[in-house]
């Protein structure tokens, strides 16, 4: 479990992150969303113990992460800019990591070889960015990490590889209960894989929810009522669009209750529709007066 508690991080005179709190429950897949410059990479580096927070603390399984070898042996990190020694090939890096991480599994390394069609002897420097990312995944998954931290992981990979990689990650999550923190600015992609999301903007957390919380507590209803009937006042309607007699309402609350309440009004048309994550965010944040187009790609 990853706990970020009220972390502030400054670079000289620029505040990259302000009083940020994140909770990533154990065994969950947490998506960190936000536009470029929102502080995603910064907080991730803080979580990995690369940077030290100016204020606040970061705990991994209740232990502070900074300069903590015991905690970091259980974590694997794939940054946007992959690190490797200048002349190294995958085999060299494998030897290096297997010396550093006690839980490096040669068995996994060999098993995963089929998933990635990469030449172990080719210098990583000469690989395309996509191949480098695949190499990074191969090595990272071989570490048998309990916590996987991914910064824009599938950026630049073709759909087949993306699927392949997520498949491997999901398998690990299902089998070992791996905790995954993944950052992206693509909600559509995260929708399938995350069970928790947090939106970052200008270094602050706008919204942090579990996916089920989000999906269960907001409904889209298409409704046509007779003119004399008004909507009950206690309905938390976030958004209304009208097209002729047909109203499209976004209502916050339990889906069943709302359906029941609306049915009681005897509408001559009612349809309850599900919302995509993207839509949920747009409507949740709509009231907060943010420029949503920037946040959601």
């Amino acid at each position: 479990m990853i706990e970020v508690k009220n972390v502030t991080k400054r670079f000289v005179d620029f505040k990259a992150i302000t009083s940020l709190s994140i909770t990533v429950p154990k065994g969950s897949i947490y998506g960190l969303v936000g536009p470029n410059g929102s502080g995603k990479s910064t907080i991730i580096r803080n979580i990995m113990g690369i940077y030290r927070p100016d204020e606040g603390e970061i705990l991994i399984d209740s232990e502070p992460v900074f300069d903590n070898e015991a905690v970091k042996t259980r974590m694997a990190y794939i940054p946007d800019d992959i690190f490797y020694f200048a002349q190294a090939n995958i085999k060299d890096m494998m030897k290096f990591y297997s010396g550093i991480y006690p839980k490096f599994s040669m068995e996994r390394f060999h098993r995963l070889r089929e998933a990635f069609e990469l030449d172990e002897k080719m210098p990583i420097r000469r690989m395309s960015k996509g191949m480098q990312k695949q190499a990074a995944f191969w090595l990272s998954m071989s570490l048998s990490p309990e916590i996987l931290v991914l910064d824009e992981p599938v950026d630049g990979l073709d759909p087949v590889m993306r699927r392949q990689i997520w498949s491997i990650i999901m398998s690990d999550v299902a089998e070992y209960g791996t905790t995954v923190l993944v950052s992206s600015h693509n909600l559509r992609e995260l929708e399938d894989v995350c069970d928790h999301v947090g939106i970052l903007d200008h270094g602050k957390m706008l919204l942090e929810r579990s996916l089920s919380e989000l999906q269960d507590n907001i409904v889209k209803v298409q409704l046509a009522l007779s003119d004399d009937i008004a909507l009950p006042k206690d309905l938390d309607v976030i958004n209304t669009t009208t097209s002729g007699r047909l109203k499209t309402l976004i209502i916050r609350g339990n889906a069943e209750n709302i359906t029941g309440t609306l049915n009681a009004l005897s509408p001559f048309f009612m349809d309850v529709l599900p919302l995509t994550l993207e839509e949920i965010f747009i409507y949740e944040l709509g009231g907060a007066d943010y420029e949503i187009k920037n946040i959601i790609l």
């Binding site: 498949s167 089998e175 399938d192 599900p274």
Partner: protein, 121 residues
């Protein structure tokens, strides 16, 4: 075994549930057939295992499946399932009825059809 439509706005866990329901109700999967493990589906479809867990849990609550610790999840006896199917069809029926009434078909006509249909059985 099942497929997910990523473009569908319905939540994933919902799709998973419905896909399995379809298979069970249409007797593709029979009583005591083993469902694929959470891990297999997560891996095969590249979707969140927690989501799949939730789907399985709800299927269990609704009586479609039962699970044995350490062994996995299995299809329940179909007799239990009947009620769900009934409710679903009735809902469809209501929808059809309201549309027909809109088009001017009277209750009497409808009743006749029901009776008639029964007679044809």
């Amino acid at each position: 075994m099942i497929s997910i439509n990523h473009r569908d706005s319905k939540p994933i866990y919902d799709q998973v549930k419905n896909e399995f329901k379809k298979l069970i109700v249409s007797s593709v999967m029979l009583a005591d057939d083993k469902l694929p493990s959470v891990r297999e589906i997560a891996s095969a479809l590249a979707i969140n295992p927690n989501t799949i867990q939730r789907a399985y849990r709800e299927l269990e609550i609704e009586g479609y499946i039962y699970s044995l610790p350490g062994k996995g999840s299995f299809v329940s006896d179909f007799r239990e399932i009947g009620n769900e199917k009934k409710a679903a069809l009735l809902a469809k029926f209501d929808e059809a009825v309201s549309e027909l009434r809109f088009l001017g078909v009277t209750s009497k006509e409808l009743q006749g059809r029901i009776e008639g249909g029964k007679k044809n059985d």
